[in-house]
Point group: D4
Chain length 248, copies 8
């Protein structure tokens, strides 16, 4: 409010105040409003999408973020990227299956409520792990429930209690993508369905699973893009943060 004080004190003209405000709104808008966003993702305002970036680029951006923030998430990286980042930031963790790098200066206490990450088959694990790692670094407890594809219903039913007691469920499946539909009939919590490109032939890079999930007859189910583990982890975290009363 110093600008106005300066104006009242006669040190600056009214025109100058006006110009300052005219220039400001957009930035203000940006910060005042978009900033609210930070209540959720405090500590890592930017997530690095590693694919298509060189090792140097990833390492450099990572260092910049770490100078400013307490947490770091890099997705879609390979072993080379991980080595490059860990050279500069030795405490960074490389999640091999998830193809992610994370780093936390001082780990937060996770918020109450778990996010269950379900995967139909072992080939779906990279996507499931990307979702799990994302949800964890964003401050959530994660329960991994893997290898419960619908062709072996008993394995799914065996883990039902763990699934039912989660706050939010992420269901990852390739091929025919039936897992989220079956789960939706067994629980009453929000389910985020993630189709994967696992499969061959008329799978068309995950299209079969995507269409199946969009057409699910199960209620309470929403869908993210094919292989988008990060998007599912982020959305689940946001729902869990809302449930924890964090988001205003």
């Amino acid at each position: 409010m110093t600008l106005l004080e300066e104006f009242r004190a006669g040190r600056i003209s009214g025109e100058k105040v006006l110009h300052a405000f005219q220039a400001a709104p957009v930035a203000d808008l940006g910060f005042a409003r978009v900033d609210l966003h930070r209540s959720l993702r405090k500590g890592f305002p930017e997530v690095i999408f590693g694919e298509g970036k060189t090792c140097e680029q990833v390492a450099e951006i990572a260092m910049k973020i770490v100078q400013r923030d307490h947490r770091l998430l890099v997705t879609r990286i390979d072993a080379e990227h991980a080595r490059a980042v860990r050279k500069k930031l030795p405490k960074a963790v490389h999640h091999q299956t998830a193809r992610c790098i994370t780093f936390e200066k001082n780990p937060l206490r996770p918020r109450p409520g778990t996010i269950a990450v379900l995967a139909a088959g072992t080939s779906d694990l990279p996507v499931a792990e990307e979702a799990a790692v994302t949800a964890q670094i964003m401050g959530n407890k994660v329960e991994r429930i893997y290898d419960i594809g619908v062709a072996g219903l008993h394995r799914l039913l065996n883990r039902l209690e763990a699934i039912q007691s989660a706050h939010v469920i992420i269901a990852v499946a390739g091929m025919e993508g039936a897992l989220p539909s079956v789960v939706a009939g067994l629980v009453n919590k929000p389910i985020i369905a993630v189709p994967t490109s696992v499969g061959y032939g008329a799978n068309f890079g995950g299209l079969a699973a995507l269409l199946a999930m969009l057409n699910s007859c199960g209620s309470g189910l929403t869908v993210v893009n094919i292989n988008n583990g990060f998007g599912a982890g982020y959305a689940a975290s946001q729902i869990n943060a809302l449930a924890a009363g964090e988001l205003k």
Copy 2:
């Protein structure tokens, strides 16, 4: 063998024998071999596909078949077609939901083994009934198990025994088409999956269900065209006939 006798008797030339044989093979081939096909579909060598045919056309073809054979199956008809056929053939049965007409001069004793026809939702019934009616008129016992979509798993599991005890299973589903996949994990019998065009939005006229079924991770599952209840009933009957030792 008279032709050869005639030849030996010198009443016809060798050239004539040759020409007769050269002309014959194709027809012979047609009858001798294709005819074997009749062992399965005895009594109704031709099935009438009613869609796009006028009432008169359907009635006329139906009468021709009945003069020659003991059984009749007309698919994809509406009430008008049914009236037209039943005017000429009062004992013909109109299966309203299945949109079929059947007629049998003297009902056959069904072969052993049942064919279970499963349907996920009530909107899938026309296709399921087309499959059931087809399988029945071809001489099979049919067990209808409807409204067992995967979103209500308990309803499916409640009927598991009936499903498991069938010889062949036809699983009909629209929307995400997950039913056959789930069933495939619970039984060890041949399953014929039938996608239906039930659904909306990104269903694309049954494409979602079709792709899901083709990409099923369940073993022992084969697929027919969207809404092709007849094809499923026919194939199931063929498998059951093979199991009954009828096909040579």
Copy 3:
């Protein structure tokens, strides 16, 4: 536990106990577990999808539900259906734009937190209203924010505060489907994107908007099927119920 007592008393055999248990799990599973689902949708365990059903069918199912439950939701109906239901149930409300019928014996007090339903254009209103009516009958306060397509950004920004203060946001858009992406950059709450089939040419019945939403660069965004206002309203209600601490 009486079964075991009977057994210990020697009144029934051990085999009988075993059979009872073997038969039980499935039914138990069905009821004990799936039933939890009712905590959310108390009063209307079944939603009627009106499309493709006759007026009589809709009215009859509606009466059955009302005898058992306190609330009723029928979606995808036209004026004819509405008349048929209101003849039997005069207090039922016909939501014309939403193409829905609702009925409540004694209206519940809505849970805290609002669900904001956003629509890009006036042609998207039927889908937006379906979402809004669904969310309301499921016990939520709904804030409708319509005609805020991205081609007129100032209209969207003018309503930003209302959008930001909601618990959950449903963003409905046809054509290029950009609304959810833009909103995702301005709020930190869960956003459910609903593509509509509004448009022409290379719109392909809503595919353009669906793909845009699945590929959104905005975080925290999940997607439902084309025109699936009901699914969005249901999922949003589930998230809001979780936030209200109702779901266990």
Copy 4:
């Protein structure tokens, strides 16, 4: 039944019995029911899909299966995988064209009835061989009938007798995928059509053949996913086992 005896003897409480049963049903369900499945695939409860797995992973899983079971099938492997497996299991057979590895401790006597595997062109052989090898390791006699594409009808007709005398027919074809349609008109046995991705241009990775097979005017024909030789071999084996009276 010992649990109940223990209970009657007063050694355990009724509550403990209840808990045991409550915990059991799912597993029981799994084993009691899914286990029936083993009557067909006795000796190899799990098939390894090699694609995307490292040599070490394949070899390790293979050894685990062999410790427990009498037969082994690994599909979609290359020469490297084969070497890795045969290093640990020298008697394993590498089927080069089929890209499969099989192993049998003591070969079973094949069940009666042959499965005919037909292939249209030489490029379709990898898929055809995958089907053939699968059917053989599952206990069936297999008759390979290759290079009988419809453009050379005489080659197909020359082998007609062998085709007609099989119990089940697997028809593998790429390009325009016409082989199963033509065969369906000549035999009265179940036909499983397998589209392959062989072709170029508007073939779209096998889509042309897949659509042709789904739209076939031949009766008794069902379809599996593009290149899914294993699925076809498995389903054919299941049908043949049913015909042999093995499946209950």
Copy 5:
């Protein structure tokens, strides 16, 4: 050449000659060259595509053509169009199945060589007849060979001689579109394949047949658009005219 004479006579300037020539080339090009086209389609330089035109429009254009030319072809018309044309031109012929109208002032003697028009099923007849009528009015003898779908190979083989003796073959088929492929293996004449939209489910309006024909392994086969009987008839006539030595 009068222009040049006028110039030499000094009656017009050289500039005028130049302008005339500069203006001329385009028109000349049009007439001198495009006109050669008329050697084939003498008597009906324009074919009327009736679909989407009113009865009055069709009748009027038809009369204009008849005033100028000896032959008339109108395609894609219904009974109403036919009545309107025959009112003004009583000798016009309405080909009901072909949905065409033709008229010839004095019938031409057909050129040598027949064009065989093959159709797989009875539903393909409208397209086959459009091709046949087109080929006839363009001066060719046509041999119709219908109902020879590949599911009944003997019917096709029975007519082989007639097919083999034609100059050009038009093969019309819907569903899986296999007929042209099979025929291509049996003859050594140019084959024009015409996919039809006959079918349902994953037929996608003829796409299945179109892809099958484009991917045919049969040599000497070219394809026209779905349902484009006219295009096939025209191209076949052009080939036959070339064979008759008419085209220079």
Copy 6:
């Protein structure tokens, strides 16, 4: 006819004659009829599709064909294949751009009439050359007219006379595939349109050009598969052979 003589002489039974004939038709059919095909492609009954074959395989098949026939055509090969073939068959010609190998023992005199091969851009040359080489080895004179894409209409018009004087025209184009349409308006000869996969973005591997050609408003135009230069060359040769009076 010796069989019949033997029979008349009493040296074999009538049954034996019958069996021989029953066995024969198929083979006879194959040879008697399919063989007619050789009148066109005399000297190279089999064309080798090199793609996916090893150098050894190609060289071996090539040698077998050359032992039996006077001409050889191998398509879709690379430099390695060419070296392997020429090592065994030094006089074989490697057509680099066309990716073909040809060999003729004693070159035939080409039949009258030229086949014009048109290409829109320089990237279309591999496909155009495959067509040209195919047409030449099959006994036709070929006129290559390249780089005449519709964006430079004057280049096309400059070569119009050569195009118009050909017997058959092959028009090869990628991207928007407009060349055949424009040519169809300028000539009255059969045109075979060949779409190529040249392009990027929404080209979808040649689909754009394929659809354009199928939807061409130009008459007398038929289409082959994407990049199918061989198919176009073969079909053009067949038409030219018909025009030359060779095909009966």
Copy 7:
């Protein structure tokens, strides 16, 4: 600036000033910036898309616009809509082919430079006319050049001068959509290509023409949605206004 004066005078608090400014930017942004848009479309800030609106709705919105503005454009209407509007606004003009209604209180003098609207076939006229009517009501001279499809190149070349002298060219075509490509090679002005849904078979509702235009090898060509005559007219007008120095 009064707000600041009030503040300096101590009549309002600094906080109030801040809130006012924080609230203001968005609205200001909306009006100050978006308003610039009106320099182009002065007099008709809103265009009514008639499709899917009732006659009453269209008439009512039209009257509201006319009260405020000098010009009116309604697109995608039928005769019923036109009657309803002209009842209230007798001087409104119904453009039948264009399916548009326009109204101008006092016609503007068109800006310099013409917009040429080209159409390939007569079936493309509704879309071409929509473009032409749009461009005219927005203040441009329009030259209509119709029936110049590429199959009759001479007609196009005959009109070349008129095409070349336009400022902006709108090229409308269905079927293979080749017109814009050919025109792009002949002129050096901006070309807006409009695909139409005219055609059948593998046209897929205009997709063939759309892809052809997107893949055009002609430079300077941009594309709008299928059948989007309005969009083309609007964009062309904008370019012409820029050329006239109107847009700042």
Copy 8:
């Protein structure tokens, strides 16, 4: 006019004059008309598309163009190509991100008016830079405005003034492709939308962004092919040249 003089002098026949003119029109047409095109692209009549060409080919064509013209543009090249060209033409500039090479003998003064090139994300830069480099070498001032994706609206609004003051806007975006729609609502200048293939999953190589842009509800927006930066730069330059009064 010497030809006519020769004729008048009797040195050549009238027939010779006629033939000369008949031969001439096409060439004349080509040069007289197509040449007008050079007024825009003065100095580089041919742009080299580097993809798929060898280093030698690119370098050779580049040298030929430079001998004849003052400017050179090579697109879609890699570092190898650049080295090869710069070896022969050391002053050529390699634009790494744009994957282009340019060369100017004596730089032109840019025409008035800027072209703003907008890019949504950093991955879109190669396409944006291709557009920018193209527009610059064609004589335009270019303003690059990058990293303004709609998920961070404040960044876009911050640059609004620069965007609004441009003559033509090129908006490049992948993923959901929403940028051009949002910009279209904020400016009144021609916008050329360029979809990029940036994204994954249901992005389908840029199809999602392409469809979004074609379906944009923003007016004045036209679209080029996926990744077609060159096409956008060329079209924008053409519009700007028109605005500068250069094109006649």
